[in-house]
């Protein structure tokens, strides 16, 4: 029972990240019809917004102490963060909460990156075949990865969760299942955060006029255009929003997975499977499939399952994708007519 509950939580948690990335991918595909292989790189760039913010906050005053020497004979440098010497306790608080606070920085940065990416490069490929779009966005992803590696190196850079949520929650006591059943606080925070972001995106599309026009454009952009609405401009903003969603998913994931330049690529392939299983162009499908595949992946890694089906943990997602596509060729919630022409 304990093991099942923990794996369910793991799955929801991982599913949250898959769902956020797949949501952005589907938004871009549904509006602009572009298969964006650089979307994983946006997740990675979001994570590096948190890293950069933390590095800026951690800029240190270096005082050279001539009385002490390093093991290699140079004078010892004593370092203290500027922010602590300037703001005292508030500075320490900012350093401690640098990951959640970096969301404020990441939103405008990712919006600008998304818009620049769409206007500067991807718009030139709208009328080109999907293969060209895949090649150019994949190339872009590699370029972005290499830029990050050049400045930050190839090793993962750890980001600490705020001390208040760095430990584990005693969920056993909450649910009356006895002591010893713990789950990391930050993973619970991440699950709540991903649910909130997904709700916010749906609310934006469902309950605002702007969102209504975007949805109409996703159905039939030509007709919306004939009504005198500059739908292309709105789609550009939607691309920016998709970048923000992926970026925020990356920012909040940093305490779980120390970010490195390659983390986007690791998530990208799985997120494409999520989009296909959910149904191309279906936003609820992307979210549903994200959580579903996350949970299935966790359960497949249980020892009891792996004893019966060795290696199932590594193929479960693709196996489910095959089964769903055989039985439901449009995916779980796919619409008729999408990518079928």
């Amino acid at each position: 029972m304990d093991a099942i509950l923990l794996q369910l939580l793991n799955g929801l948690d991982k599913g949250g990240a898959y769902a956020l990335i797949a949501l952005g991918l589907t938004l871009v595909f549904g509006t602009l019809g572009v298969v964006n292989f650089a979307h994983g790189a946006l997740f990675m760039l979001g994570a590096f917004c948190a890293v950069t913010f933390n590095k800026l906050l951690g800029l240190e005053k270096v005082v050279v102490d001539e009385t002490q020497t390093t093991a290699w004979g140079t004078a010892l440098e004593i370092r203290t963060p500027y922010i602590e010497s300037w703001f005292g306790e508030f500075g320490s608080f900012l350093l401690n909460y640098s990951v959640p606070v970096s969301i404020i920085v990441a939103i405008p940065v990712m919006l600008v990156i998304g818009i620049v990416m769409e206007r500067g490069l991807i718009k030139h490929f709208y009328k080109r075949p999907h293969a060209d779009q895949i090649l150019v966005t994949f190339g872009l992803a590699i370029v972005l990865q290499e830029i990050i590696k050049h400045y930050f190196g190839a090793n993962p850079i750890p980001q600490a969760a705020p001390a208040a949520v760095a430990g584990s929650a005693d969920i056993g006591a909450w649910l009356g299942l006895g002591d010893g059943l713990v789950y990391p606080w930050w993973r619970l925070v991440y699950f709540g955060f991903s649910a909130a972001v997904i709700a916010a995106v749906f609310a934006f599309l469902q309950f605002t006029t702007y969102g209504m026009v975007v949805r109409a454009g996703m159905r039939d952009s030509e007709t919306v255009g004939l009504l005198g609405i500059n739908i292309q401009k709105r789609f550009t903003v939607v691309f920016g929003i998709a970048a923000v969603v992926a970026g925020l998913a990356g920012v909040m994931y940093t305490p779980i997975l120390p970010p490195d330049y390659h983390m986007g690529m690791d998530f990208l392939v799985l997120s494409f499977v999520v989009v296909v299983v959910g149904g191309m162009g279906s936003l609820p499908g992307a979210v549903l499939a994200g959580f579903l595949l996350g949970v299935l992946q966790s359960f497949a890694s249980m020892n009891a399952v792996m004893t019966i089906f060795p290696g199932i943990n590594q193929i479960i997602i693709y196996l489910v994708a095959v089964v769903i596509l055989l039985t439901m060729p449009r995916g779980l919630l796919g619409r008729e007519g999408v990518m079928e022409d």
Partner: protein
Amino acid sequence: MSKFTMTRRGLLKAGAASGVALAAPMSFVRGAYAQDFCNMPTGGSVTLGFNVPQSGPYADEGADELRAYQLATKHLNGEGDGGLLNTFSSKALKGNGILGKKVEFVTGDTQTKSDAARASAKRMIEKDGAIMITGGSSSGVAVAVQGLCQEMGVIFMAGLTHSNDTTGKDKRRYGFRHFFNAYQSGLALGPILAEELGKDRTAYHLTADYNWGWTQEESIKDATEGLGWQTANAVRTPLGAGDFSQYLTPVLNSGADVLILNHYGKDMVNSLTQAVQFGMREKQVNGKDFQIVVPLFSRLMAQGAGENIKGILGTTNWNWSLQDEGSKAFVKSFGQEYGFPPSQAAQTCYVQALLYADACERAGTFYPPEVIKALEGFEFDGMGNGATLYRGADHQCFKEVLVVKGNENPQSQFDLLEVVKIVPREQVTYDASIFGGDLGPADAKTC
């Protein structure tokens, strides 16, 4: 007119004298015979090929290896402070290059992929005239490049490779490893684990699902079960899994009180970070404190795990905090050149470059079969690892192994590992035949 007569005694004398006369030139000009070996240096310089990961997941480790090789090149050519040339027990190197030829180098990018590493090594041998290939940060790469070098007749001085196979079932006459291996990690770590954690423990292994992970798991399991420990389970995790949560949660209910992470690089950083997040450091099982063990530690990788490595036990080939003359000399040279201390990858690569150069000097030739002979069975000291033997039977170095612990009170950002014990060479020496394999011929080749 004299009469020529030949007695039996005279014939024997003449035969012995002509035998000596025929043999003598060979010993004086042994460097000159067999001119046609691969990349025989003819001008005033000799080219070494540094094949390190310049891109991919181990690029930072590769960058440190390259720094070490550049420093070794400087020292071999008589520039800088001489580094380990001053402490090396062999005094054959004079700081005038190798056999009087200036050392030059070319570099290749292994990308930590076997095929890319073979291609770059081949390019350095065929196009750039490299007489020796060295470097790398993966056992898969080491085995692949070593195989190529055997085929081409070019000596390969391996970089960081920890799998038993490199000098075990995949050993080659042309391949040499200074770095220690997984079996030695088990031999060194076992007694310390018993000392620190007791003999009544149950271990749970999470193992990277590839060659190195398997040999490491097997070696550590052998060592811990030999102490009386039980193994609750050994689970293989896909390489680069990222999120290990689904593999960590079953540990909590397995009855195990020690988690052994047979992971390296990014996998180690992620699995360790996440194990700590799951409260495993604070957990009590079977009335004992739950413990995590990382059998192969690397300071560069430990930086990625941040605070989480504190108190975690493991082994390492070398650490910059060692206080022997060789280590101090190397840290000083490297630190003054680059502003920070060297990693274990840098140390092994630097030493390998010097050992090759020294073997050429002692052999008096670049002719590979003679250089191989000079390296096989070579005993040396002063390189930071105590008295060391390059065993002829498998081309594995036998030297002290460090058991280390994540430093609880680091004095600097580099002060991540604390040496718990320097395990003597005798304790990590084993019979070469246990891993099988065949070194193959030492015949010189043309290329």
